[in-house]
């Protein structure tokens, strides 16, 4: 198994009508052994910007800590929050700095940009940005996730319907993956509120 599959992870971000949802699984494992079932993969940078990190857990945590540092500096200097597009460029640059000794992570960035337009993007481990209009996925179950999202996605979903759709796609995909699952964690973000929910899934 490759280094990206050492810990196991699954991430989805999906766009709705003036809202977005970002969801992850909750397993932390060491190859086949499960160590924790409450591992946090999605981090909030500010109320309109979330990032999930899949791949090697130690690199995910280090990368998150470095980005929080850069973002807080930005907030102090600019006296405002970072826009999601700017943040995506920052992450991409930070990853390419390590081009010949990369972080073994794949970030998924989701946020609300100007005029409350939802923004999602994903990157590979050396910073190649992929902007999508509908959904992005990452992790060991990514092939299953692509299939599931493609099947259930509809444009302009309301927050409640978006929550149902993303939950279904995530749970059914991780049920086909040995290395991810053991529950789900989903944030549905609109311009006025952030709803965080834990999903009850198969614990095997």
């Amino acid at each position: 198994m490759s280094i990206f599959e050492y810990n196991g992870s699954a991430l989805i971000a999906m766009v709705g009508k003036n809202c977005f949802a970002i969801a992850s699984d909750r397993r932390l494992g060491v190859q086949l052994q499960t160590i924790a079932t409450d591992f946090q993969r999605i981090y909030k940078f500010h109320d309109r910007l979330f990032m999930g990190l899949s791949g090697l857990a130690t690199d995910a945590q280090t990368l998150y800590q470095r980005l929080v540092f850069r973002h807080k500096l930005y907030q102090l200097r600019e006296e405002r929050d970072m826009k999601p597009e700017t943040f995506a460029s920052l992450v991409s640059a930070l990853l390419y700095e390590k081009r010949f000794g990369p972080y073994f992570c794949q970030p998924v960035i989701a946020g609300l940009s100007d005029e409350n337009k939802p923004f999602i993007c994903t990157m590979d481990s050396i910073g190649a940005k992929e902007l999508a209009k509908d959904f992005v996925v990452a992790g060991t179950a990514s092939e299953s996730l692509y299939g599931a999202c493609e099947a259930v996605f509809k444009p302009d979903m309301e927050p409640e319907e978006l929550f149902e759709t993303v939950s279904q796609a995530l749970l059914s995909s991780v049920d086909r993956d040995c290395l991810s699952g053991w529950g789900g964690h989903i944030y549905v973000v609109t311009p006025t509120e952030i709803k965080e929910r834990i999903l009850k899934g198969r614990m095997d």
Partner: protein
């Protein structure tokens, strides 16, 4: 490579086959040396070709009332789950069970082959084969294919004239008699639960619950085990399937979700 047709040969030795060199003994099978310079490593290549993963959890134990056999039902190919509903407890005959761990095709074929051999033994000798005999037949077959990449980690459990019997047989040629075994990638977790809860004088329900719990805990911790926990009991009248519970539901039965107190209030975000 010659296929193993020993079941079709008659038991009487052939006439006139004597070796001048070995006085008094029938000619012993000679060791053919492999045509290679790397004696220690050449077998590894053959085994790696088929890449046995043994992603599974199976267990069996003997207790006062008989033998309890349990297994999960997940088949995995690397990280991908190919099936959640594989039958890993194979019914060799009405009073003997075999468990499957390792290559599915290998286990299914050789268990069926063993069932054929056991039936032939019954017809030739007018009595059922013992668990000792059946496990020896399988172990000898697997030993003759040693190094060719078969992947079989099986337990033969049954009830014969001497009472309950349990043997562990694997494709390396090992055969062990014992009272408690667990095989597969989830076996360390199953052993933990099994060893701490085991008593010889368990009742059938208690033993079934112990087996079910051990499989459940293994499916929770091991990524390559999951699906349905099947539990079989082998008694004086043969085997009987006791239960097949989905481990997803077992988790919430053993650890029901309590509504937790709210730690963080949802914050109203000011509109942009």
């Amino acid at each position: 490579m010659k296929l193993d047709t020993s079941g079709l040969e008659s038991a009487a030795p052939l006439f006139g086959v004597t070796s001048e060199l070995v006085d008094g003994f029938s000619s012993a099978p000679s060791f053919e040396l492999p045509v290679t310079t790397d004696f220690d490593g050449f077998q590894k290549e053959a085994i790696q070709m088929v890449k046995p993963a043994r992603g599974t959890t199976t267990l069996a134990f003997i207790f006062k009332e008989g033998v309890m056999v349990a297994a999960d039902s997940r088949a995995s190919m690397g990280g991908y789950i190919s099936s959640q509903s594989v039958k890993k407890i194979i019914e060799i005959n009405p009073y003997m069970l075999g468990t499957m761990a390792g290559g599915a095709a290998d286990c299914q074929f050789w268990h069926r082959n063993l069932g054929i051999k056991c039936r032939l033994h019954e017809l030739a000798n007018k009595r059922r084969i013992s668990v000792t005999g059946a496990s020896k037949l399988l172990a000898n077959i697997l030993y003759s294919y040693r190094g060719m990449g078969l992947s079989v980690g099986t337990m033969i459990a049954g009830w014969d004239e001497t009472g309950p019997g349990l043997y562990y047989v694997d494709s390396e040629g090992g055969r062990l008699k014992g009272t408690r075994f667990s095989v597969g990638s989830g076996s360390p977790y199953a052993y933990g639960v099994l060893d701490s809860g085991y008593r010889y004088d368990l009742s059938i329900e208690e033993a079934a619950e112990l087996a079910r719990r051990a499989i459940y805990h293994a499916t929770f911790r091991d990524g390559a085990s999951g699906g349905v926990a099947s539990v079989y009991y082998v008694g004086p009248n043969g085997w009987k399937k006791l239960s097949g519970d989905d481990v997803g539901e077992l988790h919430y039965k053993y650890y029901p979700v309590m509504p937790s107190t709210v730690e963080q209030e949802m914050v109203e975000v000011a509109g942009a």
